[in-house]
Symmetry: C2
Subunit: 690 residues, 2 copies
């Protein structure tokens, strides 16, 4: 798998003298490179160690990782992973985003609306069963059979556990393997601690994906059981404030979201030439709008803050990915790899017979996908109608139609396994800022018109002779969907009730859904199954070609990565692996985003300036890993992953060990902050930090 | 020169059956393809015809084209070419942008602040003289000698005519030829007529670069002489409201700004991978900011309107260019062309000796240019400090330093030939909207920090421990440069006075200028002269290789393009060459940008619905051609160029005759609008439209 290692080592600096540590890989727990880990680190994870680690790690269903850190259900994750919860719990009168939050007792802990946590309980390989169900099928038949079999397996797995167990089919190696993952599902999750935005995201967007760094990007949640009591859990990671030393083995146990390291050249070119620039340009314009919105008043700034942070984070991430694909060296090396692999297949008639020419098939689907892409993103994914009202309405329109079908025939996001999460989101009690909603909807509808064109028939149907602004005004002023009981009524009334509704958000959602369904069907029947089948053939060929242990692309499911605490070299400069609290005070100015939180200014004298703050390690991580515990061989928590350096963003497509670094909060900073800055004696005690 | 014609004809549709018209080319008047024009159209422009046409065309120094249309100095150009003048003449009380403007008498005509018009009087080939002065030189010596010789030639040409004559060296064929262009310079230019924004730019950004189209993108200016009287001019184009017929020969005489049809592959890749995405992403964010700014109040919208239009126009143009370079077919064809040409040189030792390997040289400078690019754009070009105050301050800082030097040693923008334009801009009386200026400056300084990095030494010097917002606040509230007399005093006080100033805008400009000069020197000494020398070698080789008549890349100097009125085929659909007034009324809605101006609603009954409105022709044009007259063989004006279709944007890099179309206002629409909509009897009479 060590794609590109040679070319990139040549291009980079002095690390050639160090032993190759091969930190690359986001490994499933059932397929760890145990031998090579033992050889490299003298550590071979035992089954019991793995079992305990698996049960100590959690996934935030919204897109992050975390871990249990006490026996009373306390979960450590990032500040940025709970940002939307903190925002939902805030109001103009009580600005928890900027002021932070600390519950001194259990009764002060506040439930995060719509938040779901999952803990992996076990996994099972169901490849043979899936392959049997899919044998000989293609197109719609393939896709229908796949949905049906997935649904059956998930249902068998979930059994009678209702909304306390979640079972997901995970496709590994581009469909080369299917596993069913069984999770404990927690939907009563309460906020315990979040620092001020200025501490959690010190340096803001300018410092994002940068290092040296000084972020207390941490938060604490508590999982409650069905009886409304703090969860009693046996497995958790104790925090060791000493942390790990330079070059010491450290592992992450987290949920990397997506990597695309097995893409073919033409798929990569689609990313470089279409997907990344399209998404970047759309996000850049939206960012400008949010920036200006935020200047209109303090309240505007508060309302837009989380959205702006997310958008800026996405822009930086995609910029790094885009840059990596614009590197002629990277693309050249990828092409060479592909050519060698393809020749290996093509030069042997037996292999050609077994594997066919999946590259050609994938190239053909790329053309279809490129033609569909813009409409799909704007209409089906919904960038052309960004609004809470419309999001609810679209869930109601499509969800009521889907849930009336047998589970196996539904779109996967409305499967029985997913319905509890869909309902949690639909019925979440969160504030609705009408001016902000109007702004987003008017702008995004104007982008729908722009990207698809004024004369596009679907655009004409959706907008009619009205303007984006007029439609947004009508929805914000007349829609009743802000009322949870109205949403509940419609959801329970089913599709007939939804279609009868004269709510303007529902009316718009119905207009959109017509074209969106058409696009979705095109993708689900004529693109995805063909791609999956070809990727599947490619995966089989790759197993045969490489013959050694490989890891699958990230799938937002539990993975272990191993590495060491280590800095890197850049333009002849050595970047050291640790920062300290003294550096934070040096970097501070009187202005956002470099302005210190008041609590830190007040605590300055009590803090040891040499206390380690942030650190970097060679672990192979990607978005979704945010909040992952960084643990040592003893299973102690020695860091809290919250970012990668800018060079790590190419990690979507390849791993360059010489410069790719994971960034984490040092446990010493967590201890010092809770004790001296936030005086959270209850948490210091529960976490045994003193 | 017919790059790509074959590949693109294959890719496109049914035009193969029509005779090849070879409309490609933006020809200098001294090198017209007269024989092929006679063969194709039966028309061979006579010297007197050309002389008269040349003297009837004008250039708007700010970046547009136009033409005299009466003997009393009346000039026809686009609405969008006078937008900033109309904005400067507007106020909250008198919104000329949205309401339009019509002077019924000469005394009502209003001077456009800072506007300069040029009419070409004659040109002279000075290649031999320049080449002699530059023989054997490289790097700084080359660049110094070039500036000195240019300055000498320009000065000799301008003679004692002071600010009434302008002489510019024009480098053609990438430095293969040098010509001196002598212009009459007019600096008293007054607004006579501009329609409402809703008429001039009906359909707004959504319809921009689209066709069918319904824009009255016209305006009228009048040139005044030194005595303050309307200019008496012998040469002008009579407007023929009948226009031209389908397939009839039509020519533009205008000033195309820039094309890059002779770029090497690596230069094109720099455009595709760096320049275009960088500029697009920056502009997209700025657009979002301006869009939201415009929603804050009607007055905010009025203030930001011209800037927003410009930004959106730039985005669409660059998007088209970017798309064209992402086409694998285009890039493949370009690469084949380059390989064939390069082999032709490399396979003959005599040619290698004569021409060297200019491709390699250009490739090497591309690496240097890519490394410099972001800093250069943000700091030297000024995207990192967008503000009227800072623009004035930078002109004062650098201009006072430069004008103290002998002409031949100055940066070219401060040469004697350019100083009158510099001063006209510096002393122009235009409104200053402090909130808007603060917004632009704070945002752009934050982009400076983002694009160069928080830890960049130049950024640290420029921002210090202050925030972009604090710097912008201080400048807007404390700078005195809004007062013309202060700017005059500093300009006349020279560099010593500027350096003594404690004006915060001057202080910022001084900080910026330090790094900006360093970047400029790097470019002027180590990149540009090497590129020019190599491009020069390439141009010589190309003359030898192609052996036929070729045209140079656009240089914002006078060019003729020939073509015919003709629609095109797109996705199996025929796009007809004309629209009519009826179509305008059908397309209208109650909402911007499709809302009709009140005057048009009121005039509906008087207008003939079949009157032609906009039209397309095959002429090869590009940005800078806006406002160009479209004339027939009799020298009558039969159209007013204002746009190209979306496919024409690839024209920056290649011309595809099957789909590349120029869009113009039909003279019948001009006549009908002036007569029935605006009741401009004085103009109808002067233009002899009835």
């Amino acid at each position: 798998m060590r794609l590109l290692t040679r070319a990139l080592l040549l291009a980079s600096s002095t690390l050639v003298a160090l032993p190759p540590l091969a930190a690359e890989g986001m490994w499933t727990l059932d397929n760890l490179p145990r031998e090579s880990m033992e050889k490299t680190y003298g550590f071979k994870p035992a089954p019991a160690w793995l079992e305990k680690s698996m049960r100590s790690a959690v996934r935030l269903a919204g897109g992050c990782s975390g871990s249990f850190v006490s026996a009373q259900g306390l979960v450590l994750t990032n500040h940025h992973c709970v940002a939307s919860c903190v925002e939902d719990l805030s109001s103009q009168a009580q600005d928890l985003v900027n002021n932070g939050f600390l519950a001194k007792t259990h009764s002060e802990e506040k439930q995060c609306p719509g938040m779901e946590l999952n803990r992996l309980e076990k996994t099972e390989d169901v490849t043979a069963r899936m392959q049997k169900a899919l044998a000989g099928l293609a197109g719609k038949a393939f896709s229908d059979a796949k949905k049906a079999e997935q649904s059956l397996i998930e249902k068998e797995c979930a059994g009678d556990a209702g909304d306390q167990r979640r079972c997901d089919i995970v496709e590994l190696y581009g469909g080369g393997q299917y596993h069913v993952y069984q999770y404990a599902r927690y939907q009563d999750v309460r906020l315990v601690f979040a620092p001020e935005y200025a501490a959690g995201f010190f340096g803001g967007d300018p410092d994002n994906f940068n290092f040296p760094r000084y972020n207390l990007d941490m938060s604490l949640l508590r999982v409650y059981d069905k009886a409304g009591q703090p969860l009693v859990n046996a497995d958790w990671f104790p925090i060791n404030p000493k942390g790990a030393q330079e070059n010491e083995l450290v592992m992450t146990l987290g949920h990397p979201g997506t990597t695309q390291r097995l893409l073919t050249m033409m798929e990569l070119e689609t990313q470089r030439d279409l997907v990344l620039p399209f998404r970047l340009l759309l996000a850049a314009e939206y960012r400008g709008l949010l920036l200006q919105y935020s200047t209109q008043s303090d309240e505007h700034a508060r309302i837009a803050k989380t959205e702006l942070t997310n958008v800026e984070n996405g822009i930086k991430a995609r910029t790094g990915m885009f840059q990596s694909l614009l590197s002629p060296a990277v693309m050249h090396q990828k092409r060479e790899q592909e050519n060698a692999f393809r020749s290996w297949v093509n030069n042997d008639p037996a292999r050609v017979k077994t594997y066919g020419d999946p590259w050609q098939t994938l190239n053909d689907t790329q053309t279809a996908w490129r033609n569909l892409y813009v409409d799909y993103v704007m209409v089906e994914i919904g960038f052309g109608a960004m609004s809470q009202h419309v999001t609810w309405a679209r869930t109601l329109v499509r969800g009521t139609e889907e849930k009336a079908k047998p589970d196996g025939q539904r779109l996967r996001e409305f499967s029985d396994a997913n319905l509890p999460a869909v309902q949690a989101a639909l019925f979440a009690e969160s504030p609705l800022y009408t001016d902000f909603e109007r702004t987003k909807l008017a702008w995004s509808l104007s982008k729908l018109r722009e990207k698809l064109g004024v004369d596009n028939p679907a655009v004409k149907r959706i907008l009619g002779k009205k303007s984006p602004e007029a439609i947004a005004d009508a929805i914000v002023s007349q829609s009743k969907l802000g009322d949870i009981s109205v949403r509940k009524q419609l959801w329970e009334g089913g599709n007939a009730a939804v279609k009868r509704s004269d709510d303007p958000a529902i009316e718009l959602a119905l207009l959109i859904d017509g074209y969106a369904r058409q696009l979705r069907t095109e993708y689900d029947q004529n693109i995805e199954p063909i791609q999956k089948a070809a990727a599947n053939q490619l995966a089989k060929a790759r197993f045969a070609y490489q013959g050694t242990q490989v890891y699958p692309d990230a799938t937002f499911s539990l993975r272990l990565s191993h590495g060491v605490i280590r800095g890197w070299e850049e333009n002849g400069k050595t970047i050291k692996p640790f920062t300290d609290i003294g550096g934070l005070f040096e970097r501070a100015t009187d202005f956002d985003p470099f302005k210190l939180a008041d609590t830190w200014v007040a605590a300055e004298k009590k803090l040891q300036k040499k206390t380690r703050f942030n650190q970097v390690s060679t672990n192979d991580i990607v978005g979704g890993n945010s909040g992952s515990p960084l643990i040592n061989a003893k299973g102690e928590l020695v860091g809290l992953i919250f970012d990668g350096n800018i060079q790590s963003l190419g990690g979507a497509y390849f791993f360059d060990e010489s410069v790719n670094r994971a960034v984490s909060v040092h446990p010493a900073a967590i201890a010092a902050a809770l004790q001296h800055v936030y005086k959270a004696d209850n948490l210091v005690k529960e976490l045994k930090l003193k």
